[in-house]
Symmetry: C2
Subunit: 311 residues, 2 copies
Amino acid sequence: MKESIKVFAPATVANVVCGYDVLGFAVNEPGDEVIMRLTGKPGIHISKITGDDGRLPLDPAKNTVSASVQHYLNHIGKPDLGLEIELHKKMPIGSGLGSSSASTVAGLFAVNSLLDNLLTNMELVPFAMKGEELACGYGHADNVAPALLGGFVLIRSYEPLDIISLPSPEGLYAAIVYPEVDVPTKDARQMIRSKVFLKDAVTQWGNVAGLVSGLFLKDYDLIGRSMTDILIEPTRSILIPEFYKLRSIAMEAGAIGFGISGSGPSVFALTKDEATAAKITQSLQAHLKGISINSLSFVSKVNEKGPVVLD
Amino acid sequence: MKESIKVFAPATVANVVCGYDVLGFAVNEPGDEVIMRLTGKPGIHISKITGDDGRLPLDPAKNTVSASVQHYLNHIGKPDLGLEIELHKKMPIGSGLGSSSASTVAGLFAVNSLLDNLLTNMELVPFAMKGEELACGYGHADNVAPALLGGFVLIRSYEPLDIISLPSPEGLYAAIVYPEVDVPTKDARQMIRSKVFLKDAVTQWGNVAGLVSGLFLKDYDLIGRSMTDILIEPTRSILIPEFYKLRSIAMEAGAIGFGISGSGPSVFALTKDEATAAKITQSLQAHLKGISINSLSFVSKVNEKGPVVLD
């Protein structure tokens, strides 16, 4: 058994425009790193957190990483296993890129790796959802499932939990831009109407089915045509500076599709190649700079592996 | 150029439980036949209709077959082409199996075949939708598209029309039972609520995405798990005698999934083999007979070809 381990878990784009609460995919960067050591002394101790500007709690009961690891330890019958955790945030918090999910998944993947992979990554999903509940007030799976499984993931059902890995075209890239404005997930959810017109829901599930078909068929055009959201985006886009201008910039620069990542404020485009993704992030960042908004950008292939052991 | 032709077009199961207005599939039987002859005299003449108990109009302006053929002829610039049409209904009207669609598709496929396939079957879809508008008051595509294209079909979008052919497992069978009770499509549509809870719509589009994934993955269990409908079925099932009892009979007899075909009253099960499908139709018909309801049944592979030329 290894005594210590360093792991990486990826950022994720939830919803993928039309698939509110049921679709998500992982990217190769950004992501978070966790270093975990067996201490031999009972209990979890968080020794260090970097990259969080002091925003995350060191208290093991309140930190989502340690809290979800504790759920895991209780489940496998080792509630008192001694662990020391270092969390290195390599991505912005509150960006809509599954920041809490990346940390939680890194922690669970680390402890499970130290314990010789007692559970599969799929079996870790419910523990990661506990972490999301602590972080966001809502135990969703559309970040943690792709972070754990890699690639595109469908959450067909929450009760019972039923998660399906979807294929994606080999050359699919994501261009992500995070405008540095504040959009708390809880507020973003509360803005959404609780009732919708059935005819709009039909339009939406036609697009969800189209996106899934496009992924299986490796049909970039179908993927793009399906990336429209008439139910959630019209509301959530209000919180994102000049969202529709950003969309037109991305589409004119060659994006297959464009939308809000999770509940925002990050936006993303899918592209057929890396150069187009890079061009899109540059154009979007230049526009945001012109309206005095700082931003970060990431260009990445769609991640295929989920979390990985670094050391 | 042929002077006369006999064609068959298949019955179809629209909605496929979770995919209201966006999914449908065709079966090998039942279906309708059309015999069409070039007359050399301007105008369409319906010379004979059989199997309709006198319910369908012979007036070419009111009959959906001739009306949609006329739309086609206008479109290709031959509005006065002389045609004689015989329609042989080989399936019940008002059964929820796409009866009007089968006739309309047979007519369009016949005239297009006589004219050396000027249009593709995909290009015939809008003309068939015109026929549906005349028959049902609503130009839907979830019967005519699978009847024209065969197999499972997704209508991703109506405006613009975007139709995707989906694969299905080779051995997939449909067991169909038509209880002889009256459920007019218009009434069945009007019973449906115009607004739904977003959380229920999310459940539904998770299932739609799951069903599409199951078809691509040839995963019978996933197809079955996805065949649940929390939005439409609870209302429409009221019009079908002992619907939930029929479901439990079908599921206990080995169905993958079970539901209402289109707006009913026909019900259908999907199965992994012909013997199970046959057992299910027998059990369902026996139960219906016990409550004094006559029924018809059909066992068929999922149709792969759409309409075919018979002579």
